[in-house]
Amino acid sequence: MSDISRRNFGKFAIAGLSTLAAPSILQAKSGARLVIIGGGFGGASAARFARTNFPHIDVTVIEPQLTFVTCPYGNLLLAGARTLSDITHPYGVLKRRGVIFIHDWADAIEPDKKLVKLRSGKTVAYDKLIVSPGIGIKWGALPGYDQAAAQIFPHAWVPERGEQVLLLRKQLEALPDGGVVGFAIPGNPFRCPPGPYERISLVANYLKKHKPRAKILALDAKDAFSKQGLFQDAWNELYPGLIEWIPGSKDGKVVSIDTKEKVFQTEFGTRHKIDVGNVIPPQSAAKIAIDAGLTNETGFVPVNPYTFEATKAKDIHVIGDANIAGPMPKSGFIANSTSKQAVASAIALLEGREAPKDPIYFNTCYSHVGDDYGISVVGVFRPSEKGFVETPNSGGVSPRGPLAEKKTQRKLEAQYADAWYASITKDAFG
């Protein structure tokens, strides 16, 4: 751990002071303990929101990485439009805001004792726990796809330090012109519903410029996807003949991966030869949520839609891609938006007040599909006794139409997307 945590600093300070001075310092340090597992969009937003709005609460984030690499805008690396440093966010500002960071893995949660066990062997006590660990990849759920296979066909779906997306970029650079870039896309639910299609678009953007004879073969378990009409319009206009998308009803579901022969095999036995392959694997909540017994048979965590408290554990509020919040998408925006209600609810309940009533959750997913070409889907959601409900007529997708007519709109949306990225990362990490 490179940082001196505020808690430890307090301890050292107390040790050096007279006994008379100690009580007042202890008083200042006796705030309720909000502990957050995960420093991604959900966890970082929760930490910042808690420090800003509830300064009497001690906020600790448990996060193994020293910086956060975002999934959003990762696809732009594939098109050469961003670098890794553009999408890497340090935690320095949050630390200066008084958030205590423990750079370690949370390995277990003991809800009865209200303790989090760290890989280092230490434990962290909490009064309220926010769990925002993101997704875990279900290694082996897709036969032939394990950690070793991910070095040949990267997933680039969990950012860590950006290794996977850089590997995919390197492979695209090495692709012979005329080669085939394959995508294996899973059924719902998965992180970032429009993500695979944005990635297809931006890989096509790269190929059109640098490998004009190469082709994209997108094998999909589904028959329909987010912003489908808009994406397909863009593919036809920007990259004609370059992308073949095969839906589940045309035998698009990939059921096994062969890294030796470099083949994606589909459900009804078709073997597709691939030169560079991106496997977006089946997903669940991250391991810590499963190990803590928070998940149900879906592999994700059921939560109270008003407070995000886990159905299966008191005082543990689960946000971000690990929870079950359909029809809200698994997006950074939803993680950010819901983190605030989760924190406000957790602290209210802790202090014997009611959770804030009538919260509204927002989402916008922008996708870049080409140079100066952005599209979006907007949703507004509210909780109900039956779960999350999209507010009727509240959102929608960008209007469709030929590029000649929509050029300004597409360009503006690309700019809105950049502005969104700047503002949401500021709201989480700034």
């Binding site: 028959d223 009803s249 459900e267 009804f268």
Partner: protein
């Protein structure tokens, strides 16, 4: 004004099995299953276009029959099981409401 039954029927089953084995058979037929109640963006009604039936035969004997209705999802995907008692010739037949059919066949040898 229905389109011809041009979809390639897709089936997945093992090429061989032991006597007594229960095998899984998957079938997929690409078809819109258009109920006839919807309108196109230009306001024109979209004509009904529904597969009425799927059946499977084993050595000439009908072993599975499924009646499909207008609430059946597009691209009917059916999975069922069969116990293998000897070498088996399977036939799989999809029948449209207007009587047109599409079919495919497979043989399961005995190990």
């Amino acid at each position: 004004m229905t389109v011809p039954l041009t979809s390639r029927p897709r089936i997945k089953l093992p090429a061989s099995a032991k006597v007594g084995d229960v095998i899984e058979i998957r079938t997929l037929f690409e078809h819109p299953m258009e109920p006839g109640f919807r309108r196109a963006p230009d306001g024109q009604p979209i004509p009904r276009d529904i597969l009425a039936r799927f059946h499977a035969q084993a050595n000439g004997e009908r072993v599975v029959q499924v009646d499909l209705r207008n609430a059946t999802s597009a691209n009917p995907y059916l999975v069922f099981h069969a116990r293998i008692v000897g070498p088996t010739d399977f036939d799989f037949v999809w029948t449209h409401e207007d009587g047109r059919t599409a079919s495919t066949a497979a043989h399961v040898a005995v190990k």
